[in-house]
């Protein structure tokens, strides 16, 4: 049976493949092994095929409800989840919860329980507070997908990054991946560190010292190292960081960092840390350029670089829908590779 046909059926069948999927929630990649990440990425391959069809829609999640609960504004992540849910036939509603409901005394726990009482199966949550998705997961039996919690984690972004990298490089073992920018405030950087470490890549983070958090350098790490973020190389010199890189990822710089006294000026940041064609000359000959978006061309990334043939930034966006479809599909109870499975 083709993937296409498999996804179109809603007749359950016995699992054929040993499932490498054991998650009720997707909160971060710190509890994902390589096999689990591969399971998601393989499932995303099937989803990618569906998305490339003229009518990109299958009924696999018919009758299921996905709620996007966004406490922070977001265009692309929210749209990506909406499209992913609809492509699988789920009912999708999006709520833009403001902090005003918090001020009215409606707690996050109340909100999540209320949504579950309305039979939400999956709650996709974006929140300004680190750990908010964990709080939600502790208090509901709906599946929680963390779509970004403060500066902590953004696992679906990391999975789409891994998917995109794997598409170009295959095995990521030993590949040098450089993230440049505001590491301190980046949830993408943290989740990418876990995901890349699980896939065997070598991670370099680079930025001005004021935007590099404490606890990454070897001397600041604990003796029981498995409890900390995975080991990475820390650089403040972008030329040295980019040397031999297979992937260079520029992170968005928020202009608030200047007002916060962390940077002398955005201009100086651009001069010292912008990913430019000249700097990329030091990278590996097959290097590729990524950005989690939305990007500030002319600040963290040069405009010509962002649109060059080395840039796979737009591909990341398309892959984002496929990866999120894969997660919704797996969370609904399918085993990876169990493409004959239907809605249970």
């Amino acid at each position: 049976m083709t993937t296409e046909a498999a996804l179109a059926t809603d007749t359950p069948s016995g699992g054929r493949t040993a499932p490498a999927w054991r998650h009720q929630h997707v909160l971060d990649l710190d509890d994902f092994g390589r096999d689990e990440i591969d399971a998601v990425l393989n499932t995303a391959d099937s989803m990618r095929e569906i998305l490339d069809r003229r009518i990109a829609r299958v009924p696999a999640l018919r009758g299921r409800t996905v709620v996007n609960l966004f406490y922070e504004p977001s265009t692309r992540t929210r749209a990506s989840f909406e499209l992913a849910g609809k492509a699988l036939g789920a009912d999708v509603i999006s709520l833009t919860a403001s902090m005003s409901s918090v001020q009215k005394g409606e707690s996050l726990i109340d909100t999540v329980r209320t949504l579950r009482a309305m039979r939400a199966d999956v709650i996709v949550m974006r929140h300004a507070s680190a750990g908010a998705a964990y709080l939600a997961a502790e208090h509901t039996d709906a599946s929680i997908i963390n779509a970004g919690d403060g500066a902590h984690a953004h696992p679906t972004q990391a999975l789409l990054d891994l998917y995109t990298m794997r598409h170009h490089f295959g095995d990521l073992t030993g590949k040098r991946v450089v993230m440049v920018g505001d590491i301190s405030h980046s949830r993408v950087a943290r989740s990418d560190m876990w995901g890349l470490a699980a896939m065997g890549a070598r991670v370099v983070v680079c930025g001005p010292p004021t935007l590099l958090p404490r606890g990454l350098r070897a001397a600041e790490r604990p003796a029981h190292a498995e409890t900390a973020l995975p080991p990475v190389t820390v650089e403040t010199d972008i030329e040295r960081a980019i040397e031999g890189a297979h992937i260079v990822m520029a992170l968005r710089l928020q202009s608030e960092r200047q007002q916060g006294g962390l940077l002398p000026s955005v201009g100086e940041y651009a001069r010292r840390y912008q990913v430019t064609a000249e700097r990329l000359a030091r990278a590996h000959p097959d290097h590729l350029l990524m950005h989690p978006g939305p990007k500030n061309e002319g600040i963290e990334i040069a405009a010509d670089v962002a649109t060059s043939d080395r840039s796979i930034i737009e591909e990341q966006v398309t892959n984002g829908v496929a990866v999120r479809m894969a997660l919704l599909y797996l969370l609904a109870g399918y085993a990876p590779g169990d493409v004959e499975g239907g809605a249970r």
Binding site: S129, A130, Y134, A151, H152, P213, R214, T227, A228
Partner: protein
């Protein structure tokens, strides 16, 4: 005349240098005699057989948040003092970050009035600045006259160096210790836990140890300038310990306290909890506290300072909160740990681990805090923190070997916010006697 005789206990009274098997005889609420077989001589007494147990002076806490007035949904003077009694405390110093804050004679008097019906002693602390706003001095003379035993804006630091200088200078007229919550507000802004690898993993902004240390250094300099008595509340970092050690060696009038939680727990508690799976991250708001739980090296330095007397007092910083203050996003959750009822058991960890002897631990819970603030000079408090004949009979009866499981649901405090839930502690308060009355006893020793 009422007489209570406690028989055959190991009596540890560090203030009087006593440690040995003895009886304690209490007559009409005051210590009458302490010595071997003294109890056999008295007739017509209520008797407690304390064979195998330890009897000490009642504990004295320099740092308790009773939350009344203003936050009685978190704690009241009645529930907070009941919790104190259950923890072996017979004297607590009540922090003034209430609503209204204790920055006036009337506010101090209202707390004292409410505390009259409590089973243990409440000594109020007045604000350093009016309304705790950090802008103008509160009327220290008036607060002193009303019964305040110290000054503090705890919860917040007095950030302005000039105002702090003047607060210290002014306090010397009344011999009031000034207890400072040392964390520079600018360095801890938006920070929610210790700055280090755990905070970085969790994506939380940190409160660096240096935020405490810079203020400890500043305030020591200001205290030396004015000759005032500076008390450093809840010391949490090894760097602060070094500063306090050096200041005391120079003869500066600097005292310090440390909490049970800073003596045992580290920042890893926030992310992983006790005995939890290290891969399973949590955001445990019950381990959120200011100053934050820090690193193993800080814990070691705090224990060493407590052992050698650089830190004279263990203080609970009992900070009860309602569940609605804690069951929310980590960065929005209120900081603080409900600590009165677990203090002795948690501190016994230091004895079990060989960092402190039992008599030194008792010293830091009794005469240590009394001497730090010279509380025995207060009217009617002669002999406080000891079992001296004639002193008010405040006594704790302890079983240092008993193990028990922390069940916050059984706390007498309204605040169930503790990171110790479910943990087994060794060392239990069996009974507490305040002014000769048994104000707490375990059900298991109902036969007393």
């Amino acid at each position: 005349m009422s007489t209570l005789a406690i028989h055959n206990a190991r009596v540890i009274d560090p203030g009087l240098g006593r440690d040995g098997i003895a009886d304690v005889v209490i007559v009409d609420g005051r210590i009458s005699r302490v010595g071997p077989d003294e109890g056999s001589a008295v007739v017509d007494a209520d008797r407690i057989d304390a064979t195998g147990l330890v009897v000490t002076p009642g504990f004295v806490d320099l740092h308790t948040h009773l939350r009344e007035p203003g936050f009685t949904y978190k704690e009241t003077i009645r529930t907070g003092t009941a919790a104190a009694a259950a923890g072996g405390f017979t004297t607590v110093c009540a922090m003034p970050n209430t609503n209204p804050p204790l920055d006036s004679r009337a506010a101090i008097e209202s707390v004292l009035r409410e505390a009259e019906s409590a089973t243990i002693r409440v000594l109020p602390i007045g604000c350093i600045t009016r309304g705790r706003a950090g802008a103008e001095l509160a009327p220290a003379g008036e607060l002193r006259a009303a019964g305040a035993v110290a000054l503090s804006d705890d919860g917040d630091a007095v950030a302005d160096p000039s105002l702090m200088r003047h607060a210290l200078e002014y306090s010397t007229a009344f011999a009031l210790p000034v207890s400072q919550h040392c964390e520079d507000p600018s360095l801890v802004r938006d920070g929610h836990m210790h700055e280090g690898w755990v905070a970085t993993r969790m994506g939380l902004r940190g409160r660096p140890a240096s935020a405490e240390e810079t203020m400890v250094a500043r305030d020591i300099a200001l205290a030396e300038l004015s000759g005032a008595h500076l008390h450093i509340a809840h010391v949490s970092s090894a760097g602060s310990v070094a500063l306090i050690r050096a200041a005391r060696a120079r003869g500066a009038l600097v005292t310090a306290e440390v909490t049970p939680h800073h003596l045992v727990l580290t920042h890893e508690e926030v992310a992983f909890g006790f005995g939890a799976d290290y891969r399973q991250l949590r955001y445990n708001t019950d381990a959120k506290v200011n100053p934050p739980l820090r690193e193993h090296s800080d814990v070691a330095a705090l224990r060493a300072a407590l052992r050698d007397g650089v830190i004279e007092a263990i203080a609970t910083d009992h900070a009860p909160h309602a569940r609605m203050d804690k069951d929310i996003e980590f960065d929005l959750a209120a900081p603080g740990i409900s600590g009165l009822e677990t203090a002795f058991g948690l501190c016994m960890t230091l004895v079990t681990e060989g960092d402190l002897s039992l008599p030194v631990l008792i010293e830091r819970l009794t005469i240590g805090p009394v001497r730090a603030w010279r509380l025995d000079r207060q009217p009617g408090l002669d002999g406080l923190g000891t079992l001296a004949p004639g002193a008010v009979a405040d006594v704790a009866i302890l079983d240092p070997a008993a193990t028990w499981v922390v069940e916050p649901g059984r706390f007498l405090s309204m605040g169930r916010n503790t990171p110790l839930a479910g943990r087994t502690l060794t060392g239990q308060v069996v009974a507490t006697i305040a002014a000769g009355r048994v104000v707490h006893r375990l059900e298991s020793v109902a036969a007393l």
